[in-house]
């Protein structure tokens, strides 16, 4: 019985020739990540340990991105705690205001995550780096502390679900529609404890940014990780961004999968997740009544990359955000922000009546920079639409692609770009 791609990476990091689903292993880590919410708890835990410092100051990444620039005094205290820890332990990859970006957009851009890596992060969307062919998974703060102290983490080797991607997507269909469609199909616990392994000839039709979006939301199906094979596009991305050596793993031909699904990109439509679960998906033709919105958010670790901003700009160019709608655009990193400026995207957003924010996770989790009042609705390119996720417990979040969020900002109700004649 062969191994899946994930199992091969885990075996290599556990120093084993072979692992199988269900086996408990201890794996060496290439990177341990934390943010301004989770790191303070991890630092507190690490202080209780009988260790002097981190296992490798180059293999810990601390990214201040959730509530910064500090939204209040308590958040400022959290960041201060992490800043002092980073300084005390000479953490190489500490990113504060001015250098920071949303962690899961920032780390690949900085070349800190490459194919074949085993990565843990105290943030559930750490699974994003599977887009590059790495094993990466979200953990809590205590696991992060243990990872920082020892460079190791224990895992139960996951079984896998194989997702065969075929075909080519139509103009406004992107990675977000692929992953929302998949979550709608298998449910928010459809891949619980498992890997989502994406394969198939259709992958070549997905940009790196599409793949980051898809891997990013693997957790929304309950998955331990989502992972893509390494192809020419992945290699080109890594060569552009990283000087680290990488290793491309492939699943064995006789690897065993619990389930297999096929997604034909050519048949996918713009997909929207209705409140209050990402799996509550509908396509436009299934929406029978106008869903009037108060806010549109374009950004986050899911959809704040340059492809996402370019797509939104194509729709907002020469158009206006509907009066009464707040449209908030958040480039995910400083580099993306600058690129958007140089390409003239920021001008398009501002002329359309949108606001452009410094990189932050802010509104996605109801932190700041776009909190909803009771009864308000937001169309958002973020990743969760749970009760109260973006503010008041009686507000609503609808998840969608940048194309749908931008088109909806123009019409004031949930809309697809085709409604604007695009």
């Amino acid at each position: 019985m062969g191994m899946t791609m994930t199992q091969k990476i885990l075996a290599a990091h556990a120093g084993l020739d072979k692992v199988e689903a269900g086996q408990l292993i201890e794996a060496d880590l290439d990177l341990v990540l934390g943010n301004d919410i989770t790191s303070p708890v991890a630092i507190h835990e690490m202080d209780k340990m009988t260790v002097d410092t981190v296992f490798d100051k180059d293999k810990v990444a601390l990214v201040m991105d959730h509530f910064i620039p500090n939204k209040d005094i308590k958040s400022a205290e959290h960041c201060k705690c992490v800043r002092e820890f980073a300084c005390r332990h000479e953490i190489t990859n500490y990113f504060d205001v001015g250098e920071m970006g949303i962690e899961h957009a920032l780390l690949p851009e900085k070349g800190l995550t490459v194919a074949g890596d085993a990565i843990i992060g105290a943030d559930s969307h750490t699974c994003t780096y599977g887009a590059l062919g790495a094993f990466s998974t979200g953990v809590g703060s205590t696991d992060m502390a243990a990872g920082m102290a020892t460079g190791k983490a224990w895992f139960k080797v996951p079984s896998a679900i194989k997702i065969n991607i075929v075909g080519k997507p139509s103009k406004w269909v992107s990675g977000k529609d692929v992953i929302l469609h998949l979550i709608g199909m298998i449910g928010v616990d459809g891949a619980l404890y498992k890997s989502l392994e994406f394969v198939g000839e259709g992958i070549k039709n997905l940009s790196m940014d599409d793949r980051f979006t898809i891997a990013n939301m693997a957790i929304e199906a309950g998955a331990k990780n989502g992972i893509f094979p390494v192809d020419e596009l992945t290699e080109a991305y890594m060569k552009e961004h990283s000087s680290r050596p990488y290793k491309a793993y492939e699943a064995d031909a006789d690897a065993v999968y619990d389930e297999e699904y096929t997604i034909d990109l050519s048949t996918l439509k713009s997909t929207i997740s209705f409140p209050h679960l990402p799996s509550n998906t509908r396509t436009m033709d299934q929406i029978t009544e106008d869903v009037v919105i108060d806010q549109a958010v374009i950004g986050s670790c899911t959809n704040g990359r340059i492809d996402d901003l370019r797509c939104a700009a194509k729709i907002l160019e020469g158009r206006k955000v509907k009066k009464g709608v707040r449209c908030i655009v958040i480039p995910a990193t400083q580099k993306i922000y600058l690129q958007a400026m140089e390409e003239g995207l920021l001008k398009i957003f501002i002329e359309a009546g949108a606001v452009v924010s410094t990189p932050t996770c802010g509104p996605c989790l109801g932190g700041y920079m776009g909190i909803l009042a009771a009864g308000e609705r937001c169309i958002s390119t973020t990743n969760r639409n749970f009760v109260g996720r973006m503010g008041h417990v009686d507000s609503e979040v609808y998840l969608a692609s940048p194309a749908v969020a931008a088109a909806s900002a123009v019409t004031g109700k949930i809309s697809v770009p085709e409604e604007l004649g695009l």
Partner: protein
């Protein structure tokens, strides 16, 4: 080791945003977090919960964010055990790592109702609904995890390994 308490019952997909909303994550103090535990799904939880009480839920308990603040808030609120049909994987790890006992048992999740008096034996995995006089066999932790639980969390476990 046993847990004894009154049951608070919830359904599928209780997410970490309702267990502890992100608007309170500017604190990492378990006692403070506990004062907002379950607030967006059950406003009365914090008022009613007594030390030792038990949460029983259905599928995918603790889905969503990796915030360890979620099991920390539940534990600090006095809850002695969470029983569910299944747990989201990060919540599962976090609960073990901070020493909040959790147990998977689909039958108990279906058979136990809000307000029932329940006893959980962690060594055997046996769950007893004393109100109804029914028992259920839950999944006891694998040995690997029992070691972490016996050490009262991952940090103590690591410290004991390094001695």
């Amino acid at each position: 080791m046993k847990a004894n308490g009154t049951v608070f019952k919830y359904g599928d997909n209780v997410d970490t945003d309702v267990i502890i909303p992100a608007r309170y994550l500017n604190s990492s103090d378990p006692k403070e977090l506990a004062t907002h535990c379950m607030e967006d799904i059950d406003k009365d939880f914090v008022k009613k919960v007594q030390k030792g009480d038990i949460i029983v839920a259905e599928k995918n308990f603790g889905c969503g964010s990796s915030r360890e603040h979620a099991p920390l808030a539940i534990k600090a609120a006095g809850v002695s055990c969470v029983i569910a049909e299944t747990f989201a994987r990060i919540f599962y790890r976090n609960a073990i790592n901070i020493g909040l006992p959790i147990i998977e048992c689909p039958e108990a999740s279906k058979g136990i109702e809000a307000g029932d008096e329940v006893e959980v034996d962690f060594d055997t995995g046996v769950i007893t609904d004393k109100t109804k006089g029914t028992t259920f066999q839950g999944q006891a932790f694998p040995e690997f995890m029992q070691k972490i639980i016996k050490a009262e969390g991952l940090v103590n476990y690591i410290n004991s390994q390094q001695k």
